[in-house]
């Protein structure tokens, strides 16, 4: 996927979110660091253009809720959510949906911040191989992969380019 593909996919996702929720009034968009955060912001920008309504966006750190820090420790980022999520429809945004474990930890992290009316999941890439009963509500692109492949998403905000690549490990 190149820059134009990514932009088109995010635009479509924004339209689907608005359609599904009949507007953007009770929506908040929350990205999962690192790449989920800029993607969440782009979707929010699209939504504000479609609906002429500003949707709050934030970042949700899930490091402290992971079940695999035994094998891959990461430095926690700060959660930046300056609004209440209680009673809102939270759209979680991440770059790649793979095992579903990040989403699982994100759901637990959200729980500690409030009680949303609903949580929906938007991802740029769904690469399959779920290990938990989790599915995305909005998908940019389904990419069938082998387990030994790596999906790399790079975005302008953090990596100076917009690109999605599938690489053999």
């Amino acid at each position: 996927m190149d820059e134009a593909d990514i932009t088109r996919a995010l635009k479509r996702i924004a339209h689907e979110i608005v359609e599904r929720n009949r507007g953007a009034r009770d929506l908040v968009i929350v990205g999962v660091p690192t790449r989920g955060v800029p993607l969440a912001e782009r979707i929010a920008t699209q939504i504000s253009q479609i609906e002429n309504y500003h949707t709050p966006t934030g970042a949700l750190d899930v490091t402290l809720y992971r079940d695999d820090y035994g094998t891959r420790q990461a430095i926690p980022q700060s959660t930046k959510i300056n609004f209440s999520i209680t009673g809102k429809t939270v759209v979680l945004v991440d770059d790649v949906l793979f095992t579903g474990r990040t989403v699982r930890s994100a759901l637990n992290a959200l729980n500690d911040l409030g009680r949303p009316a609903a949580v929906q999941l938007a991802v740029l890439i769904d690469r399959g191989h779920r290990e938990l009963p989790i599915r995305a509500d909005f998908v940019g692109k389904n990419v069938p992969t082998a387990r030994n492949e790596n999906v790399t998403v790079r975005v302008k905000e953090t990596d100076r380019e917009d690109i999605v690549r599938v690489e053999k490990l």
């Binding site: 490091t63 809720y65 990461a74 700060s78 500690d112 790596n150």
Partner: protein
Amino acid sequence: MPLCLCGDIPLKLQRKHILGLQEMSAEEINLVLDTAANFKEVLARPIRKVPALRGKTVCTLFFEPSTRTRASFEMAAKILSADTSSLTVAASSVTKGETLKDTVLTMQAMGVDCFVIRHPQSGAPEMATRYVRGHILNAGDGCHEHPTQGLLDLLTIREAKGPIENLRVTIIGDLLHSRVARSDFWGLQKLGAKVTLCGPDTLLPPEFDKYGACLKTNCDAAIEGADVVMLLRLQNERMDGIYLPSVREYAALYGMNARRLKRAKPDAIVMHPGPINRGVEISNEVADGERNVILEQVTNGVAVRMALLYLLLGGEE
């Protein structure tokens, strides 16, 4: 195992125990400070609890009295969902003659993953590292080091003043007996601050000169142009002889008051590791003044201890 897809940098402390800042590198210190800065957000949440250290047990073992360090360690462990058990030495088998070695081995047999040790003897936590499989965190040993205090001071300075490099920091007080001053000194030194140590001759060890500190016995001169003024308590419990003519004289010559503080930079901050002795090293007006960050230091203490526990225990099976 899931592949690393989200670009997290897998950083880790390359050591098992935290005994002092003298042996830590600037990179390691910055890793702890960055992690702690991110943990402060957890402290501001409505639900101050994350599951990161579920199933880990932290044992605090204090052979000396303490309010903030012990409470702070326990709070940090609990926010990260670790279990804590604290041994109050006065009420433990130590009074029946049990040695430090046997005490830690006993607690280890109950499944402790990390010991937080405070001891009047310098080097006691290091000795304990020879006996246990788990981690040791030094919570202050004799006149040696108090690394978590040093790190929380660095975090507080960084928050108030930005990068530590080239800041002028003056530490005033009982430098001879202060483990806090030693940890602060090593940390500041590694991060590139210009450190001035000030105290009466009897309490100012000349060896610091070798390591690049500026030593001064005149307090007014030492404060001149400082960005950070750090005050220390007279460690009466460690004074085994006569070091001062009188506490009143010390208060007059080295006590921080508003008039004296004018010599520092107008935006200088005043720090104190606590417990403070009002009217001795710090006057009421300074202790209650706007420029002190003493309570920020306490809050940062929880964040720094969370960071250390997480960095030591978080990456384990």
